[in-house]
């Protein structure tokens, strides 16, 4: 073993208790950073994945980006008329089949059409307002995860009777309706029809499961009195991260409003960025606190060892040698602490991942965590850096010591 290592090792060995406390400090810092990062990034990943799964990556609607200009505005640029009846624009994507066909030509992903409607659902004397979504079971499958959320029946069950409906499981429970129950739907357009419940689904989102029913496109069009028109095209892109770019091109091409999931969830995504800033601040603070322990032990050792340092310097040891002794001690504490921190951090993460958990919005059983080597390396780098910085200042002070000052004082 080299001279510097021998002396450094002797120092830390003879101060076992303090050294262990400092190592424990670094270990705890690294472990909790790793665990925090695994938890934060895990839940974030899971959240985005759920979001990306649950939402269409791109939604094309007939809304224009600006309110439509009324005839009077078009004729008189700066006029304002009172008492005029606004022009009723028939909403919806006209000629949907042609639009879909032209998009299918270049959009990398799957497309499906839907019709949004609202209706009062009546069953056994109960009335509930629900969102009715008309879908095409053949293509819905490729765009949304609805099919995998079916509890009873399937998407194709919608073909079983002329007016069939799939209900959210909470909605069905609220109504007391079961498969094959006959319910009544009354739309705002004044259409009333009888429908048969052919299945239930459970998406995991309470709001959806409580207030949504799926019907065939045709059924929804009847409720809306709009045969041949749909009001949303949903797209599942092959690469969700490309959605924003693709949506812009769709908007340009069709003139309809195309919104990517990133745009739709802008607030959430910026909240996630904020959360990341928060996470790295906390992780950094933990490691900083741990480095105080290292600083403490190294400065204690140099303080207790002033006499030895004077002796070594009087023997002819160079400043650099003295400095490296204490920096190596700091590195030793940092490295050992980090190594134990990996183990503890991993175990903590495992423990966290195995916890049963219930959130109000959905029903995951386990806390999602993400194991990433990046977290371990980052925590180690910060721990080592802060240890070395914490060791450097006492080490430099020690090396600058004048041996005569100590020797004069001692004799």
């Amino acid at each position: 073993m080299s001279l510097v290592l021998t002396i450094a090792w002797t120092h830390v060995r003879h101060r076992a208790r303090q050294t262990l406390v400092a190592i424990a400090g670094v270990m705890t810092g690294v472990a909790f950073s790793v665990m925090m990062a695994a938890m934060m990034e895990g839940s974030q990943d899971d959240f985005i994945r759920t979001l990306v799964d649950a939402l269409p990556h791109i939604s094309i609607t007939d809304e224009l980006r600006e309110p439509s200009r009324q005839p009077a505005d078009q004729i008189y640029a700066a006029a304002e008329f009172h008492g005029l009846k606004p022009n009723v624009r028939r909403p919806g994507i006209k000629n949907p089949m042609a639009t879909i066909a032209s998009l299918q030509g270049w959009v990398p992903g799957a497309l499906t059409a839907s019709v949004q409607s609202k209706a009062v659902l009546r069953f056994a004397g109960r009335n509930l307002t629900v969102a009715i979504i008309g879908i095409d079971p053949r293509t819905e499958n490729e765009v949304s995860t609805l099919a995998s959320h079916m509890r009873q029946g399937s998407l194709n069950s919608l073909y079983r009777s002329s007016h069939a409906i799939l209900l959210g499981d909470r909605l069905a429970a609220k109504l007391g309706a079961r498969v094959n129950s006959n319910i009544t739907l009354a739309s705002a357009q004044g259409i009333s029809m009888n429908a048969t419940v052919v299945g239930t689904f459970h998406s995991g989102f309470r709001a959806t499961d409580e207030t949504t029913g799926y019907v065939l496109l045709r059924t929804a069009q009847i409720l809306e009195r709009q045969t041949g028109i749909i009001n949303e095209i949903r797209i599942r892109t092959n690469d969700p991260m490309q959605a924003r770019l693709i949506s812009e091109r769709i908007g340009e091409q069709t003139g309809y409003k195309a919104i990517s999931w990133q745009e739709a969830q802008e607030d959430l995504l910026s909240a996630i960025t904020l959360r990341n800033v928060l996470m790295y601040t906390i992780v950094g603070a933990i490691l900083l606190v741990a480095s105080f322990g290292t600083y403490n032990i190294i400065s204690t050792i140099t303080h207790e060892k002033t006499r030895d340092i004077a002796i070594l310097k009087s023997l002819g040891f160079r400043d650099r040698t003295i400095r490296s002794i204490f920096i190596i001690e700091a590195l030793f504490i940092g490295l050992t602490g980090a190594a134990f921190g990996w183990v503890l951090g991993y175990l903590l993460t495992r423990g966290l991942a195995s916890l049963e958990f219930k959130t109000p919005f959905s029903d995951y059983n386990h806390l999602p965590v993400l194991y990433s080597l990046k977290h371990y390396l980052l925590a180690t780098a910060v721990a080592l850096l802060s240890s070395v910085v914490a060791g450097y200042f006492p080490a430099r002070a020690a090396a600058r010591l004048h041996p005569v000052d100590i020797i004069r004082g001692a004799t």
């Binding site: 001279l3 021998t6 002797t10 120092h11 003879h14 006499r307 030895d308 002796i311 070594l312 310097k313 009087s314 023997l315 002819g316 040891f317 160079r318 400043d319 650099r320 040698t321 004048h402 041996p403 005569v404 020797i407 004069r408 001692a410 004799t411």
Partner: protein, 234 residues
């Protein structure tokens, strides 16, 4: 003719401060090979201060200290450290050994810092040095397990580790009883006679000083007397 091993030229050391303290003033001194020199003087006269200057532990405010004819005030701190390591050996009144290391390791330290010998050669030489000073039975002990006289002999062994031509000792027997004093003094004298070293020792003990070949007397930081009592040891 080869230059003196150590030469002080007009060495003055003033401690700066509100009231500057003059430790030594205008010292001229040449120390040759195979000399056995006593530095004497009243308490507080500046004997230790002079020894630190001669041993490159301190820097003169004015003047220069030459080792082997080379000016040391012009050297860098690292070069002076190298000089201390290879050309000078120090023995203090208190042994100043590292408490956590065995005495063999203590003696090995300067050799390891110099790095001229192999690890095995270093241990071997450390053990030989200690054995030659009557410590063969204590090689694995830490300093706290030894008597004062034994520790001071370890300090001498450490000073000899890199085989420097000069040993500087600041009251090496100051904290020892009569028997131990006689033994350590005998060892220092043997260094001159048997090994051809030069030994410069600060001492209060006029009895001891009387047995030394040359006596340098310091009063108030100035060289008051420099007598060759006997011809140099040959």
């Amino acid at each position: 003719m080869s230059p003196p091993l150590i030469e002080a030229r007009q060495v003055t050391r003033i401690l700066p401060g509100e009231v500057p303290v003059t430790l030594v003033a205008d010292i001229n001194l040449a120390i040759g090979a195979r000399e056995f020199i006593a530095i004497t003087g009243p308490s507080g006269s500046g004997k230790s201060s002079l020894l630190y200057l001669l041993g490159l532990l301190d820097l003169p405010t004015r003047g220069d200290v030459l080792i082997d004819g080379r000016s040391t005030t012009a050297m860098t701190e690292d070069e002076r450290a190298e000089m201390r390591l290879s050309r000078l050996g120090f023995v203090f009144q208190f042994h100043f050994l590292l408490p956590e290391f065995s005495i063999t390791e203590n003696v090995a330290l300067p050799m390891r810092a110099l790095g001229r010998l192999s690890a095995r050669g270093i241990t071997q030489r450390a053990e030989e040095l200690l054995a030659s000073l009557g410590l063969a039975d204590h090689l694995r002990k830490t300093p706290d397990k030894l008597s004062g006289g034994q520790r001071q002999r370890v300090a001498v062994a450490r000073a000899l580790a890199n085989d420097p031509p000069v040993i500087l000792a600041d009251e090496p027997t100051g904290s020892l009883d009569t028997a131990a004093t006689a033994q350590v003094f005998g060892i220092l004298r043997d260094l001159v006679i048997m090994r051809g070293k030069t030994v410069v020792a600060v001492t209060h003990d006029l009895n001891l000083a009387a047995q030394m070949q040359r006596r340098v007397h310091i009063v108030d930081g100035r060289l008051a007397d420099d007598v060759q009592a006997q011809p140099p040891v040959r």
